[in-house]
Symmetry: C2
Subunit: 295 residues, 2 copies
């Protein structure tokens, strides 16, 4: 395990504890909801988005305690999107992070509600004074998160993905779809550190630009791994993109040009960090990690 | 049409225009999402919750322009909950407000996404400086809305409702379920006016208490109408509560005791407004309207 994997794992452990503390537990008639939310949000994933929030916030001296709450909120949104995307009416997936998907484990109604619950609870967490003492900062965090996740961001991207059919794919359209579906939330995760740190407009824009390019690189490699990886390694079904005629850069350009596009996006992500010098090294290392990862 | 119905209709028209302006429109591959969101949110409903926000905010001299944005956000949450509750995996309803439900009109995947989109967009609207210039007020509005709608509020209530089965019903359990499923959002709608108006704690608590009691009265009458009304009048299927073994006060207590409980809740709602004197008359009239309504 190299240094960045160690740092990623360390933030993952800490955000896991924060998620565990923030998510409702137990209950009586509502217990399946709480169990399903915890199943969907705990114990899995690389926690890339939380790492971006925490590493970004550290650039401005923001305490990790605040950043980890914002990071948990972003991760709740990410996990909700996986639960709803996996539903029978959507991508109809039965395997996620090496385990049955939420609707397989808890039934479809509970999975829909668990997604709704995670999505809504993210805003409870973000708007809480414990996340930041300044109300304006909290409102900015909410606005950024909702914008990235909502009908002008992630939800629009998922709609495009469902709607793209088997028509001809062009690379520009794929990139726009992916910028909405996964790029917007990753970009917000990076930008959130600057919001928490009450950074200037230039620093905030630089982190958002880094996040957009990182998100593009991440998604292209995701598609490459879907085309080349094994289900055992990935912990989810692979080869589904081609089977379902999904819009990917691999389909539009072929495997090697797609890989090259991912490298270019990672290079642009790293270039966007120039003004931060050494303190941004973890963010640079993550951009390389995203390219080199095998799962 | 009496005076309160006229006032309700006037706010409904104005919130309709605000929703129309706030919801995304058009698009290419994401167009079904935008169409379905507008289908679910526009052109229907009594707009009870928006009325509560606006009438509450007027008590503190808050401009309607701000209150109507908060009202639109609350209504987006209400409409999302209807879309998801109607899904085949949930209540499996095909008629809503006299029209096909969202998943019948747009398909299940698009309806799930439209619900997600409305839910998320509500927070975009609430967190926008146009809703209130003070960031702390915006964050409070977001916290209140997310708390009412989330896994400790509406989503928990819906889970309980799905999970209640055909077991023995007791009135206390039904009231707790309904306080979460519909009461919490109605209570927040009333409280939102006090948040927007930066009212003192006593006034804010009084409006929240009014809203909780009003929500209880509203839900009991809803159940009474499901047991006694006609589908043509209601614009949705009726008699489904008994058929599905739903937890209602009508089932737990019988029709007349349930009606009496609704009247008592409305009386308590009106009593909670005592300190506001005449300016709260529209809120008192709504409490009577909720009891007397036939649809």
């Amino acid at each position: 395990m190299n240094a960045i994997q160690y740092q990623l794992g360390e933030v993952a452990d800490r955000v896991e504890a924060v998620l565990d503390a923030l998510l409702p537990a137990g209950g009586t008639l509502e217990r399946p909801l709480n169990d399903a939310m915890r199943y969907a949000a705990l114990g899995g994933g690389k926690r890339l988005r939380p790492f971006l929030v925490v590493a970004g916030a550290r650039l401005f001296g923001t305490p990790d305690t605040r950043a980890l709450r914002a990071a948990a909120a972003v991760e709740m949104i990410h996990c909700y999107s996986l639960v709803h995307d996996d539903l029978p009416a959507m991508d109809d997936d039965s395997l996620r992070r090496g385990r049955p998907t939420c609707h397989i484990a808890y039934g479809e109604a509970t999975a829909i509600l668990a997604g709704d619950g995670l999505l809504t609870h993210a805003f409870t967490v973000m708007a809480d004074p414990a996340t930041h003492p300044d109300g304006g900062v909290r409102a900015d965090l909410v606005a950024g998160l909702a914008g990235a996740a909502g009908p002008l961001g992630m939800v629009a991207g998922q709609m495009m993905d469902m709607n793209v059919g088997f028509g001809p794919l062009d690379a520009a359209r794929v990139q726009r779809l992916q910028a909405l579906k996964t790029g917007a939330l990753i970009a917000f995760a990076a930008e959130a550190g600057a919001i928490l740190g009450q950074a200037g407009a230039a620093d905030r824009a630089a982190l958002a630009a880094y996040g957009r390019q990182l998100g593009a690189a991440f998604q292209i490699i995701d598609d490459v791994l879907d085309a080349t990886g094994s289900a055992a390694k990935m912990g989810k079904a692979v080869g589904k993109d081609a089977e379902q005629g999904k819009a990917t850069l691999v389909a539009a350009l072929g495997l090697d040009p797609a890989r090259a596009a991912a490298h270019e996006a990672a290079d642009r992500a790293i270039a966007a960090l120039d003004s931060f010098r050494e303190p941004a090294d973890p963010l640079r290392a993550i951009a390389r990690f995203v390219i080199d990862r095998e799962t």
